[in-house]
């Protein structure tokens, strides 16, 4: 069905379609609309999930963990400080190999209080063992949420998935949305290690130095296996519903001399910038990174690279820039822009590319010699 929706409503609508058994969530700006919408769905009977109105995000994730380990399909949503408050439980969920799906509405961290878009909240959870995908349109928020369940629950993965959408600039904007009838796209959940009181086991007991590392390695192995699972699920999604996604979304990249890499809504705005640059005779291409964990293998050989980070690792640099610098063994021009919802237009992005100085870092809006 073709309709219009905000990013938040698209996520809630996808969650309803996936029919989780349990949703445990706590409201936080700008994610609140997701929780409200799910509460509405549950109340009007269109969603048959059990909704647990927990008293904190730490408890939201703990409740999801408790539900998930019984073999139930489980969903939650959060943002910013809520995500950070969950941090301990994010590790717990992943290491318990629980396929929980969570929408995270990317938002800056305080102080000062700032409810606008930034990726630092999710990037600071990058080592928790969660798969992370970043979306750029209302449609993609919907599609990625649906696919997240199938990817997470796949037996070669069995890790939780975080679907990230930019606060306000995607969560609150209204765009068209094609909803789908899932059919058998997501098979029934089958958690191999779900609690069975007729075959009792102890979950996550004391595990000594002679054993512990094996389980860590298996998380990494599953992250690596997830690359293929993601590709398979995305291609099956394309064949059923006609929309193809990948680890990255490329725009006029084939013959590009300079590739601009970014994430989230800035990646869409960047396409406008690429068109402007092309009109000026600069052979630029855009690459929007969708999957951050597992991190994709990018081929950037022989190209100049400009990276926009909507985040920062203090005392170090842009997190995305660093990831690309190290995995692609390439130097690049690192732009820090859009922090806390800082307005970044396609004109600004085009100028980042024009004035690139490979090997340096540029903070947008701050004097360049800082």
């Amino acid at each position: 069905m073709l309709t219009i929706a905000t990013g938040n409503k698209a996520v809630a609508s996808a969650a309803r379609e996936a029919q989780p058994d349990v949703v445990a969530a706590y409201p936080i700006t700008p994610q609140t609309e997701i929780v409200e919408q799910i509460a509405n769905y549950v109340t009007d009977g269109s969603m048959r999930s059990q909704y647990i109105p927990v008293e904190s995000e730490h408890s939201a994730m703990a409740a999801c963990i408790g539900a998930s380990v019984t073999g139930a399909r489980t969903f939650t949503a959060t943002s910013s400080h809520g995500l950070l408050y969950m941090h301990e439980m994010l590790h717990w969920a992943a290491a318990s190999r629980l396929p929980i799906v969570m929408a995270n509405v990317n938002r800056a961290l305080g102080p000062g209080w700032n409810t606008w878009a930034e990726h630092s909240d999710a990037f600071s959870q990058r080592d928790t063992g969660w798969l992370q995908v970043y979306v750029a349109t209302v449609q993609e928020a919907y599609d990625a949420t649906l696919m997240a369940f199938r990817i997470a629950e796949h037996h070669d993965v069995l890790l939780p998935v975080m679907v990230n959408l930019d606060g306000f600039s995607l969560s609150h904007i209204t765009q068209s949305l094609k909803t789908v009838k899932l059919g058998d796209f997501i098979p029934p959940i089958d958690l191999p290690h779900r609690i069975d009181t007729t075959h009792p086991v102890g979950y996550g007991p004391m595990t000594g130095p002679d054993q512990y590392f094996k389980f860590r390695w298996d998380i990494e192995r599953s992250m690596r296996d997830a690359v293929k699972v993601i590709a398979d699920v995305e291609s099956d999604f394309a064949s059923r519903f006609g929309r193809q996604y990948g680890q990255t979304e490329e725009y006029r990249c084939e013959d590009a001399d300079v590739v601009l890499i970014s994430m989230g809504t800035l990646g869409k705005e960047a396409e406008m910038a690429i068109d402007i640059l092309r009109d000026e005779g600069i052979r630029a291409g855009g690459m929007r990174l969708r999957w951050f964990r597992p991190f994709p293998k990018l081929d950037l050989a022989g190209r100049e690279v400009v990276v926009i980070d909507r985040d920062y690792s203090f005392g170090f640099g842009g997190v995305l820039a660093h990831a690309i610098r190290s995995t692609c063994r390439t130097d690049l021009y690192s732009v820090i822009a859009g922090l806390g919802g800082q307005e970044v237009t396609y004109d600004d992005i085009a100028e980042f590319v024009r004035s690139r100085k490979i090997g340096t870092e540029f903070w947008f809006g701050v004097t360049p010699d800082v």
Binding site: A95, S96, R97, L158, P192, H193, P200, V201, G202, Y203, G204, P205, T207, Q211, Y212, K214, F215, D218, R221, S222
Partner: protein, 81 residues
């Protein structure tokens, strides 16, 4: 199935043969024992069976049984190792 996470299977000896922890061992005077079963009821580790024999492989030697026995039928005697 791959070993994805630490799942422990129930079994005896999860903490080893805890009988080796003992300094004193309970010794039952069958003459005095009236089989009231309080020793078994109070044994924290449940190593005293229904017929009131003490599993010395696992008994940690805490002495609760001796302390609670109304007939003073259990004495704690030094382990000789």
């Amino acid at each position: 199935m791959r070993e994805r996470l630490a799942l422990s299977t129930p079994g005896e000896g999860a903490a080893g043969k805890t009988g080796s922890w003992r300094v004193f061992r309970p010794v039952v005077d069958k003459e005095r024992c009236n089989t009231c079963g309080l020793c078994g009821m109070y044994c924290p580790d449940g190593v005293i069976s229904e017929d009131l024999t003490i599993d010395l492989e696992f008994c940690k030697g805490c002495g609760v049984c001796a302390n609670e026995c109304p007939k003073k039928a259990i004495t704690m005697e030094r382990e000789e190792r």
